[in-house]
């Protein structure tokens, strides 16, 4: 799945970030292959979201660099589409679904000029692709959790970026929407987009993803899911007690998805 010789889609080196005294990430080296669907897994507070946000320069890093397609990430932001956690957003804000998706074209269209016909076409097809075309004129607060996430993913699609970063995209949405969106992300991967997804459901990682980074402040392991998502490695990341499963049950759970 990874073309030989292609640079990693996203790479961080020696990344250290701290909030207050405690490090959230400590000297993390990680790289995510191009054209693959990668997951970042780890317990709560292990720095999964921080890794993505620091890689994009949204939180200041104490040390380390990040690169996208081999270029410093801050100068390659036009190649990245980021879907932040939905809790960060004010849902009563006066904005329609379509206007949210149009934000994905701001960088292409320029900050001040009107959107061109081509931008509007991209927005239309992004809405169509996530099944939200009929709801485009709704105020964003009038949507269900799953529909909001569809709108956010449509905005990322409209960015037409080679790398898509999603932070807990399936938290708090219904199983039907999760399956539909997971399928859509798979289609994007097949079409050549690189994806990095912060994910909490260990069972679906093995079934749906190609590559995984297991994180707990430090990088515990990374590689193809078949090699990384093992009971032994996960126990190291999570601590055995917190999973409450013996090895066999854990293996079964991982393969069940």
């Amino acid at each position: 799945m990874t073309a030989a010789g292609r640079l990693p889609a996203l790479e961080v080196r020696h990344l250290t970030v701290s909030y207050g005294a405690r490090p959230a990430l400590w000297d993390v080296d990680a790289s995510f292959p191009a054209g693959a669907m990668s997951a970042i897994v780890g317990p709560n507070g292990s720095g999964k979201s921080t890794l993505i946000r620091a890689a994009l320069g949204l939180v200041p890093a104490d040390a380390g660099q990040s690169s996208v397609d081999g270029r410093p990430a801050r100068s390659a932001l036009d190649r990245v589409a980021y879907v932040p956690q939905r809790e960060a957003v004010d849902w009563d804000f006066p904005i329609t679904v379509r206007e949210v998706v149009e934000m994905g074209r701001y960088r292409h269209a320029g900050w001040v000029r009107r959107l061109r016909a081509r931008d509007r076409e991209v927005v239309d097809s992004a809405l169509e692709r996530v099944g939200m075309a009929a709801l485009a004129r709704r105020q964003i607060g009038a949507l269900s959790g799953g529909q909001r996430q569809r709108a956010f993913i449509a905005r990322a699609l409209a960015q037409e970026a080679g790398l898509m970063l999603l932070d807990e995209p399936f938290q708090g949405i219904d199983a039907r929407t999760e399956a539909a969106l997971l399928g859509l992300l798979g289609e994007l991967r097949d079409a050549g987009t690189s994806l990095v997804v912060v994910h909490h459901d260990l069972a679906t990682v093995r079934a749906a993803f190609d590559w995984a980074l297991v994180l707990n402040v430090r990088a515990v392991a990374q590689g193809p899911v078949g090699e990384v998502m093992t009971a032994e490695i996960l126990r190291r990341a999570y601590g055995a007690a917190s999973l409450g499963l013996d090895d066999q049950a854990l293996e079964d759970a991982l393969w069940a998805g």
Binding site: L56, I95, G131, Q139, G146
Partner: protein, 414 residues
């Protein structure tokens, strides 16, 4: 300027006041939205209070009541207050609301002390400075309006240029950062916009109540529209309406302008909170009440239907015992059914009419369809991002999906 004022069909002093209030209303209405929407209204309040010592210091330094100098002082003090709020928030563990409270009270106290000192200084020029507390529309002169207009035009042009980045940063800060927008600089820009609005309003509305001119138009406009562009236009209109009517009223009544403007504005906001189409609280109540009554009537319909299956037509008393619902609810539901012609009375006993039986069957059908959805829904594909609505599953999923569900339910039963 003089030409513009002569166009207004009012006596000259009133015309100046009206024009000034118009400039203030439009500017504060639009710029205030950038305090209300990111939930920073109290920052606007703190900055208005913080402007007062700036006015006093400018007077002490220049020794005259030149509007441009006084407002420049207000702007500088407002910006210093804004920077202090941001510094306190970022460098200490003090929360934003506390930081706002501290800056507001410290600056305002300083302003009052300076104001008192000036009034005891014996400077003949000082009379009237205290109008910066509560505002005074009467006595506004053309030169004031010119200064207000220039500051307002600058603020509104900045909004026009930055509208798209500002919208992105206010709605979704994280995303805005990820597409390379300088989010902190934009937040600073919105603060500068607020200070501009405050500087314009200080003379007319006063430091204490200026926040109302910022908040009222945006809140009123949000009741009427769910999009930012129209919201800014409506807020400008509301600001103009509230500002002009409040200023003229206060000038006639020789009352301080601030309180009059606030009272006019609050009347408007209360009316819109209650009555705005879609968002009005009253409509919400009425809608919920209607839905409860409809559900209650449908439940009675279904109860009568099932009791009629079990035996002779029931009395209301028997329905009450079977359904364990309070009798007043049942009596009201029965009145609704009567009015719709769905039940017939045989003395005490209740029967469903033909249309009543059809309605009861339709209600049962909807319940069965929902059960089928819960049981077999995972097997059928649903187009797009539709949300199943228990009360009208067929309407929300479409006929095709509903037919498939019914088929699956029949196959499972067979």
């Amino acid at each position: 300027m003089g030409g513009l004022i002569s166009l207004i069909p009012l006596p000259y002093p009133d015309a100046v006041v009206a024009l000034g209030a118009l400039v203030l209303g439009v500017t504060a209405g639009v710029l205030g939205a950038f305090a209300v929407l990111p939930r920073r209204s109290l920052v606007g309040d703190a900055l208005a209070h913080a402007a007062l010592p700036g006015v006093c210091l400018a007077f002490i330094l220049t020794g005259a009541k030149d509007p441009a100098a006084l407002l420049a002082g207000a702007a500088v003090a407002g910006l210093v207050g804004a920077v202090l709020i941001i510094l306190i928030e970022r460098t200490s563990r003090i929360r934003p609301d506390a930081a706002i409270g501290v800056v507001l009270s410290v600056f305002f106290s300083l302003g009052i002390v300076l104001l008192t000192a000036i009034s005891h200084s014996g400077n003949a020029q000082q009379a009237g400075l205290e109008r910066y507390l509560f505002g005074q529309a009467a006595g506004l002169v053309e030169r004031d309006v010119v200064v207000m207009g220039l500051v307002g035009a600058a603020g509104l042009s900045l909004v026009l240029v930055l509208l798209r980045p500002l919208r992105a940063a206010m709605f979704d800060r994280e995303f805005a950062g990820s597409i390379g927008l300088p989010v902190r600089a934009l937040e600073l820009a919105t603060t500068v916009l607020l200070v501009a609005a405050i500087v314009i309003g200080l003379r007319m509305v006063g430091a204490i109540l200026m926040v109302a001119m910022l908040v009222v138009p945006a809140v009123a406009a949000r009741q009427l529209t769910g999009r930012l562009g129209p919201l800014l236009l409506v807020a400008a209109g509301v600001g103009a309406l509230v500002g002009v009517s409040g200023a003229l009223l206060s000038a006639r009544a020789e009352a301080p302008t601030g309180p009059v403007v606030v009272l006019v504005g609050v009347l408007l906001v209360v009316a819109l909170l209650l009555l705005a189409p879609g968002r009005g609280v009253l409509w919400g109540w009425a809608r919920r009440r209607r839905e409860r009554r409809r559900e209650s009537a449908t439940a009675l319909l279904v109860d009568i239907e099932s009791l009629m299956h079990a035996g002779p037509p029931p009395t209301l008393e028997q329905v009450a015992l079977a359904s364990a619902r309070p009798r007043p609810h049942l009596r009201r539901a029965l009145r609704d059914l009567d009015r719709a012609g769905l039940v017939a009375h045989d003395g005490e006993r209740l029967r469903l009419t033909e249309s009543g039986a059809a309605a009861a069957h339709a209600a049962l059908e909807r319940r069965r369809l929902w059960s089928a959805w819960l049981e077999h829904g995972w097997q059928i594909g649903v187009p797009g991002a539709v949300e199943p609505d228990p009360r009208d599953l067929r309407g929300s999923l479409g006929d095709q999906a509903a037919d498939r569900l019914e088929r699956l339910a029949r196959e499972a039963a067979a």
